[in-house]
Amino acid sequence: MSNAEKGLPLFLALDALPEVYVTEAELPDTPAEKPSLWDRINTNGWVAAAIGLVVALGVVVWIVLAGRGAGGPGIAGTSAPVIPEDAPYAFVFGDQTAHAVEGMWWYSGKAADGKYVDADGYGLSRELLTMSDPPTIVLRAEDTAKLQFSGGGETPGEVNLWDAEGEYLSNGHDFSFLPGALRGKSGTYYVTVNIARKTDSGSGEYAEGIRLLVWSGSVNTHLMTMACDGYDTPPVAMTPMLTSVTMYNDRNGTWISKDLQSHPMDKWWSQQESTLAAVCCTRDGSYRVCDDGHRYSVADENGVVYTGAPSGFSTLPAGTYLVSYSETQAGRTVGGKTETATVTYLIRLIVSSGENTDTAGETKPLPDPMKDEPYLFVYRDQTAKPLEGLLWATDGTTSASGDGLPDAVVNYSDQSVLPTIRADAEDVSALQFLIRNGHTPGTVRLYTVDGSRMLASGSDFSFLPAYLAQQPDGGTGAYFLTVEVPYNDGTYSGCMTEGIRLAVGKGAPLQKTDVRIGDKVIQPHTDYSWFCDASSGIIMQLQTLATESLYEEGYLPVLSIGSREPISLHIEGLEVKSVQVYGIDGTRYGSSADFSCVYDAVQGRPGTYCVEINSFDDEYMGGSAELRCAFVLDVQNDDAAGQ
C-alpha cells in the first residue's frame, strides 16, 4: 500500500465534517486559485527556459510574418488584425483590440524526468479576473462570433467562456458558440483561447484571455424608429450608430465606460454625412422617437441642445440635427446586484421647411406601416408590432440560442418596450397575425406575462378562447403571446418568434367613445399611447401608428356630412383633452382643446379630413390610459350636388 492510499481513510473521514467548516475553508476564487504562470516559471526553471524559448521564437516568427503582411492564424476572422510586436496575442473586434492576458496552463504529458508536472488550473487567469482595468472588448451578444484572435503564429485551440465571477460557462472550437452561450444576455464575461505548448520536456496548454462586456443589443432595441406627423417621411426604422456603452460591473461595483467612437457629439458634425443614418422630417410635423421613455436629446450644428417631452419635438426649426438616444438595458442579477448597460446611439435628423411644394390636391403616397415590419398583430382596430424573439436553429450545426422569448419579456423590468394588444376575453378570437413575406406562421404559445412559464399553445389562435374561459375571471389579466415564423439568413435557419403582450379584459371599453354628429353615430378608431397597468401601477408606453397611416390602412371609420350641414360633434363618456384636424395629405389644419378647430377647418370646405381626439380614460383595464380616437370626416360638396 502506498503512503497516499494509507492516508485515504483519513481524507474520507473528513466527509463527516459539518458543512459550515467545509464552506468556510473554500477559497474565494475557486476556479482561479492556482498559482500564476509566473509563479510556476519561478519554481520550475526548466519550464521557464522552455516556454521562454518558445515564446521568443513565436514573437520572432510573428514579427517575420507581420513584416510580410500576414497575420497569425485567427479564429472566425478573415482579415489579419494589426497587433503590436510586444503583444503577440490579441483579441480583435472591429476597431477594438484587446491584448490578451496569459492565463493558467496545465500539462498533459510527462516531463523529462518522467514525472508529471505539478500543473493545475484550467484556463482563467487570476490576474485577469482581478485586474482593475483588464483588456476589454465591448460588443453585442450576437456579434461575439465575429471576434478574432491573433495567435502570434501559434494555432489557437479551445475557446472557453467564463462569467464575471470566473466560473466556467461553456466552450467551443472557435468563437461561433458564443452567441448561443450568451443567449443575448448583457453582462461581464471572460473569454480565453487555449494555446498548445509542446517542448522536449512535455506538452500542455495555457490560455490567453480578455474580458468581454456584452450588451444585449437585441434586434429591436438597436433599431431607432422615428415618425413624423408630417407626410414627408413615413415612420422610419434605422440602425443608428452605437457610440458608447457604459456598463455596471457587479463584481467590483464600478462603472465601466467604453467609448466605441471617441468623438464627443459635436465632433460628429465633421463626418456625419458618411457615417450616420439620417431621417428627414418636415418642420410642421412632430418628431417622435417611438421608444418613448428612454433618454434622448437633439443638438444642432451650433451645439444648441433641444429637449423634448417623450411625445416628441414639435418646435425644431428647419435644419440638420444630431439625435442622441440612450437606453439602459438590464442584464442578469448576480449577488443581489443587477448588471445594466447604457448604450448610446446617434442618428442625423434633417428637418425641412415644411412648405408643401406639391401641386395642390395631389396626394403623396402614404406610409406603409409594414414596410419595415413584416409582422403585425391586429385586433379589431388595434395593431401591435411584435418584438422579435430569439432564434433557434434547425440545421443541426449551430447551437440553439434560446427558447424564443424576446429578451424584453425575460427582462421584465423593461415593460415599456412591450407592444400590447388589449382584447376582450369573449372576443379574443378576433386576434390576427399578419405576415408580409409569405411565410406561414407556426406554433402559437401563450406565456405568463413575464415569460417565465408557458401556459398553452396551439397551431393558431383558436385555442385562446377555450383556455381563457377555463381560467378564473374568464382569463382576464396580462399574458405574453408568441407566434413562430420561419427564419433563414444564410447562416442560421430555424424559427424566430414574434411576440406581444396580450391584455385581456372584459366587455368592450370602446363603446363609450362613440362620436355623434346629429343623429349619425360612429365608433372611431381607438387606441392608447400609454396605459397604467392596474396590477403593477407601471405606466406602459405603447407604439401607435400615425393617424395618416391608420387612414391609409383603412382603419378609420368615415363620417360623411354635407358642406352646408350644421356640424356639432359630441363624444360620449370621455373628457376631451385636445383635438387635431389634418388633411389626408398630412397638412395640419388646426388643433384646439375642443372641436372648434374642426368646425373652423371644414366649414364650407369640401374635402376629406382626419380628426384626432385625445383624451384620458380613467377606467381602462382598472387603471388609466391616454386614449386616442380618430375618424375620417368626409365633407361633401353640397353646392356641387345641388347643381
Binding site: 485515504l8 483519513l10 473521514a13 466527509d15 467545509v22 475553508a25
Partner: protein, 180 residues
C-alpha cells in the same frame, strides 16, 4: 436561483434542476475534481456523475446546503476515480495531501466510525485559522501555494502550520488509544 428553489425542482423531478445545479455549482465542482484528479476529462465526467448522484438522491435527501452536498458527492466520486486511475502512481493531484495525512493514520481499519467521529471533533476544536488551512488542504485538496496566496502567508508558513496541525492530530489520536 436559490438552493431551495433548485431542490424544489429535484423534488418535482424537473430536469431543469440539473441545469440549474450545473449553472450554480458546475465550476466549483469541476475545480474540486480537478484538484483531486488533475485531468480535465476525468473531472468533467466526475462532475456529470455528481449530477446523476444528486438526481438519484434528492429526493429523499433534502440537504440544508446544496453547495456542500454537491461538493461532498464530487469529492467522493473523484476519490473513487483517483483510486481507479492512480494505484501506485505518483501524480500531481491529491496524492501529496494524502501522503501527508498518512503520517497521522492510525493502525486501524479504513472505515472505523469511531475514528471518523474523533477526526471530526479534532477539526471542530481547531482554531479557526488552523481549521481553514486543514480543511482547505485535506477536504478541498487546495495547493499550499493557493492557500498561501489566499491567506496572505508564505508557502513555508502554510506548510509549517499544516505540519504542526498534523502533529497535534497524531498526539490527539494517540491520547485516545490509537497507535499512529
Amino acid at each position: 436561483m436559490q438552493d431551495n428553489e433548485i431542490i424544489a425542482l429535484y423534488f418535482a423531478r424537473d430536469e431543469a434542476a440539473i441545469r440549474e445545479t450545473q449553472r450554480a455549482y458546475g465550476a466549483l465542482c469541476l475545480s474540486l475534481a480537478m484538484r483531486i484528479l488533475n485531468d480535465r476529462s476525468d473531472s468533467e465526467e466526475c462532475v456529470n456523475d455528481t449530477w446523476l448522484g444528486v438526481w438519484n438522491s434528492i429526493p429523499p435527501q433534502r440537504p440544508q446546503s446544496l453547495r456542500a452536498y454537491v461538493c461532498k458527492l464530487t469529492r467522493r466520486i473523484a476519490i473513487n476515480r483517483w483510486q481507479y486511475n492512480h494505484a501506485g502512481k505518483r501524480n500531481a493531484d491529491v496524492t501529496v495531501p494524502l501522503e501527508e495525512l498518512a503520517e497521522c493514520m492510525p493502525d486501524t481499519s479504513a472505515d472505523d466510525p469511531a475514528l471518523a467521529a474523533l477526526i471530526k471533533d479534532f477539526v471542530v476544536g481547531l482554531e479557526p485559522d488552523d481549521r481553514k488551512l486543514f480543511v482547505g488542504r485535506y477536504w478541498h485538496g487546495y495547493a499550499v501555494s493557493a492557500m498561501a496566496k489566499a491567506y496572505g502567508l508564505t508557502q513555508n508558513a502554510v506548510s509549517l502550520r499544516l505540519r504542526r496541525i498534523r502533529e497535534r492530530l497524531q498526539t490527539y489520536l494517540n491520547e485516545r488509544g490509537y497507535r499512529v
